[in-house]
Amino acid sequence: MYNGGKIIIGLLIFIGLVSFPFLYSGGKATAKPDPKIDTPEILSMPEKERKCVESKAFMKKEHMQLLNDWRDWVVRDGNTVYTNAEGKTFNMSLQNTCMKCHSNKAKFCDECHNYTAVKPYCWDCHLAPKEKKS
């Protein structure tokens, strides 16, 4: 092998660099996000009515698409009422509908967004609910 020593040293440095983040964190994964939906607003509702505008699975996967559609429908088309799959109607508004129930932005939005390093700029304009310190 030509230049065997140099290649092996180079490979070792490469492996060291690649594995550094894993070794540095001690092989442990960061704590998984645990978003909370136990706000006083939600808990005060009767158990049967504790439902988001769509199913939990849909909201988990599609909330960004839904919010994006909502903003276009409201601002650009002037349609403000959303009827979900069950026929229930909602006023399409992040600030006035979503955050009325999910009044714990830090635990409900930020927890996952921080974990996945997603930085939506919603809160540059929309006012986050004033969280009650209990």
Binding site: W73, V75, R76, G78, N79, T80, L127
Partner: protein, 271 residues
Amino acid sequence: MSVNRREFLKIVSMSTILSLGGVVSISSLKNHVEASQISRNAKALTAKRWAMVIDMSKFTSEEDYRKCIDACHREHNVPHVTDNPKHEIKWMWTDTYEHAFPGNEDKYLSEKIKHMPFLLLCNHCENPPCVRVCPTQATFKRKSDGIVMMDMHRCIGCRFCMAGCPYGARSFNYKDPRPYLDESRENPEFPTRMKGVVEKCTLCYERLAHGLLPACVEAAKEVAAKKGITPGLIFGDLEDPNSEVRRVLNERFTVRRKPELGTGPSVYYII
């Protein structure tokens, strides 16, 4: 089996067309399902073209104007920037006759009109130059009711619209507006803006959608009720011959700001 160039191109183009067709049919189906789920609020106020008449005789003191401006700026969390006049944000403001109606001034204009503050706001033009110059369609005219809207999500802050607007009705957020808001007076129902977007009067589209009149019109009603007169701001549908606005326009002589520019303002003044 060898494939010659002609056959290869045939296969590639056919498969592209087929796959494109598949994508289009899936997305249109999705749109169909979603479109059936949204509607207007049944209580919403509707018109073919919203317009306003401002009866200057009904405003007698500085406070009367201030009440309307305050109602608007409070409703929409408009920051009160005072440290640099160029950074001022205004949706509704007052100015003198010679600034509001340039070209109409007269050397011997009555002192009263010369010094009278005129209540100014976005004119929601029929042919808005700001919409024509906006590269992202962040400002657009709603076909349904003629409101010249701002989509703050889409504004890239290029300020072409400010150059295009002949009425100076648009303001640019040079700084983050949040520190200039009084937290105790902010309206939790309406967003603020961020640094780097243009904003202006939207004729309270969010209130109209819920069946409410614009904030300034309501404030003017309160002012008038105190004095026992009819309100100075008259709001209604310009295309409806039976509307309040058309009745007033029929009875009184009105002027518009810079009509010679051909923008077709929807705000009329009775002097």
